[in-house]
Subunit: 330 residues, 2 copies
C-alpha cells in the first residue's frame, strides 16, 4: 500500500490534507481506505461525537457554528461533518449553509467537511461513520455531525453520534410536526432555536408535555429542552452544559457497551448491503426473482422462495458455527 | 387453512370486513396472510395507485379527501391507505387528520385504512404494499396512498405507487426546502396546495425553475406543477387530469415493465431483511460480530470478514445456479 502508507504517515504527523484525502477515500468507497482505517482503528474512540439534526429551516448550521465557536473557547479541537443525504443535486444549498461558517474555516483547530449522497443504499451513513472515525483518530476532540432533513438516512447518520441534539424553532416545525416526523424519538437533547421569536415559549411547553408523556417511561434520561439563539449566542452555554451532563449519564450507563451496540448495528447494515449486492449482481438471484415475478407470484412469495433456496442444502445456517469460525480463533 | 379459506370466500364476495381483516393480517405479518395473498395475486394489477406525500402541514389529508370525492363523481371505487412511518406514538395525530375525511367514510364506494409503524426495518413498506395489493384484488379501482413526512420509509412506501404526487404549500415548505429534503426527486406531479395564500405564485415559479434545471434531462416526463386548493376545490380536476396524462405516458413507456421493476425492488428489500434477520437471530452472526468488535476491529472489517465467512467454502455463490434452481423448473 505505497501511497497509502505515505498518506498514513502524513496523517499521523497531523497533516490536514491527509485527513481530507482519507475522508474522500471513505466517501468513494476506495479500496485503499479499509486497510488504513484498520491501521488507525486503535486511535478511534477518544472524540466525543455530537449529532445535530432537525427540520429544514430550524437553523442547524448557525447553531453548529456557534457550538464550534464555544468549544474553541475552551480550547477543544473541533471537527464538523455536514451530511446531506437528500440528493446529489443539493450541493449548492449545502454550500450556501456552509458559507455562514466562514469565520471558523481559518481556525486551524477546526476541520470542516461536507458530504452529499450518491446512492440510496446506506452508503452515506457508512461514509459518515468512516469520516467521524478518521477525524477521531486524527485527534479532533469534539465532532459535530450535522444532517439536513429528517429521514431514515439522517437517523442512520445519527447512529455515529454519542449524543443527538434535535434543533427545532417556532414556526418552521412546531411540537406536533416534530412528533409526526419521529424526530423527538432520537433526541437526547432538544434545542429550541430562535427563542426570541413569537411562539417559542409555547413550543417549549408543548415539547415538555410531549417528552414527559412519551419518553420518561422509556429511558431514565430526561431529555432537556434548551431555548437558545444562534443569532445572539443566548443559551449556547446551557446547550453545552446539557451535552456534558448527557455524557456523564452515558458514562454512568456504560459508554463502551452503548458504543459497541452502535457498531454492531453498523455491521448488521453493512453486511446486509454487501450480501444483497452479492446475491443480486453476482449470484444470479436478480434474474431468478424477475423470472418468478413474471409468473405472477407475489414479491413476498418470491423472496420467501429465494431465502429457502439460499438457506437450503448446506446453506448458511447449518454449515457454520460462527462463534468458532475463523473470525474468532480459540 | 380453515379460517383463511372462509375469509377468502367472504373477501371474494365483496365483504369489506374480510378486506379489513386481511390488511390487519398483513400489518401483523400473520403467517396466514401469505397463502391468501398468493391465492389472490392473479387479481392484482387492475387498480391505479396514486401516492401522495409531502412535508407535514402541506394539507395532504384534505387533498386526499378532495381527490377521493372527485374520483367518486366519476363513479370509480376508491381505496385510501394513510401510512404514518414516523412512530408508534402518532396514532393520535393521524387520527386527527382522518377525522377530516369523515364525509367519505359513509360512502360504500370508499374504503379507508390507516397504518402506523411498529418497527424500523422496512416492515411498514412491506405491509403497505400488501395492503394495496389486497385492496387492488378486492376490486377497488383507484388507490390513494398517503404518507406523513418525507423520509426514507415514505419513499419505500411510495414504491407501491404508479404515480407520486408531491404536495407542497407556500410557507410550510418552500421550493428550496423541498429540494433539500429530496422530495422533488420522487415527484411525478407536484401539487401546490393552498394556492390562494401569499407566496404561492413565487413557489410555483421556484419549482418550475428547479424542476426544469434538474429533471428534464433525467426523464422524458415533464413534471407538471398544479396549483390547487383542497379548501375550495380549485385545481382538483386539473390534478386528476395530470394523473391521467401521467398514466398515458407510463403506459407508452411500458407499464408492466415498470411495475415489475418495482416488484423486484420489493423482493430485494424483503430478501435482505429476512436474510439478515436469519443471520443475526438464528445463525449466530450477531455474537461473532460482537466478539470481533471487542477486539477493536472496525465495523467495515468485521462485516467484510463475516461476508467472506458466509460466502466461503461452498457458500451461496458457488453452490447455487439460481436460474435453474427450484424456483424455475424447466
Amino acid at each position: 500500500m505505497g501511497a497509502g502508507s505515505d498518506l498514513l504517515e502524513r496523517f499521523r504527523r497531523g497533516d490536514r490534507a491527509a485527513l481530507a484525502r482519507l475522508i474522500t477515500w471513505a466517501e468513494n468507497d476506495d479500496e485503499r481506505f479499509g486497510p488504513i482505517l484498520e491501521a488507525l482503528f486503535e486511535q478511534v474512540g477518544r472524540a466525543w461525537r455530537l449529532g445535530i439534526t432537525g427540520p429544514p429551516g430550524a437553523g442547524k448550521s448557525s447553531l453548529v457554528n456557534e457550538l464550534a465557536r464555544a468549544l474553541r473557547e475552551t480550547s477543544k479541537t473541533v471537527g464538523v461533518l455536514a451530511v446531506d443525504p437528500s440528493s446529489p443535486f443539493t450541493g449548492g444549498a449545502l454550500l450556501g449553509d456552509r458559507i455562514r461558517m466562514e469565520d471558523r474555516t481559518l481556525d486551524p483547530g477546526v476541520f470542516i467537511r461536507s458530504m452529499a449522497s450518491r446512492d440510496s443504499h446506506g452508503g452515506l451513513a457508512r461514509a459518515s461513520v468512516d469520516a467521524c472515525d478518521v477525524m477521531d483518530a486524527f485527534g479532533l476532540e469534539r465532532i459535530l455531525i450535522e444532517t439536513v432533513g429528517v429521514g431514515q438516512a439522517e437517523y442512520d447518520v445519527m447512529g455515529a453520534a454519542d449524543c443527538v441534539l434535535v434543533v427545532l424553532c417556532p414556526g418552521a416545525g412546531d411540537g406536533i410536526q416534530a412528533m409526526k416526523s419521529g424526530l423527538l424519538e432520537v433526541a437526547d437533547i432538544v434545542a429550541v432555536n430562535k427563542c426570541d421569536l413569537p411562539g417559542a415559549e409555547r413550543l417549549v411547553a408543548d415539547l415538555e408535555e410531549a417528552l414527559h408523556v412519551r419518553f420518561v417511561r422509556r429511558r431514565n434520561w430526561e431529555v432537556p429542552i434548551v431555548p437558545c439563539s444562534a443569532a445572539t449566542g443566548e443559551g449556547i452555554e446551557r446547550l453545552l452544559e446539557a451535552v456534558v451532563k448527557h455524557r456523564g449519564w452515558l458514562e454512568s450507563q456504560g459508554l463502551e457497551a452503548a458504543r459497541r451496540l452502535r457498531r454492531l448495528e453498523q455491521v448488521r447494515q453493512e453486511l446486509a448491503a454487501r450480501l444483497t449486492q452479492h446475491l443480486w449482481s453476482e449470484a444470479g438471484y436478480r434474474e431468478a426473482a424477475l423470472e418468478a415475478l413474471g409468473e405472477r407470484r407475489s414479491p413476498r412469495e418470491v423472496s420467501a422462495r429465494l431465502l429457502s433456496d439460499i438457506l437450503g442444502e448446506g446453506g448458511i445456517a447449518t454449515r457454520k458455527a460462527p462463534a468458532r469460525g475463523p473470525l474468532t480463533p480459540q
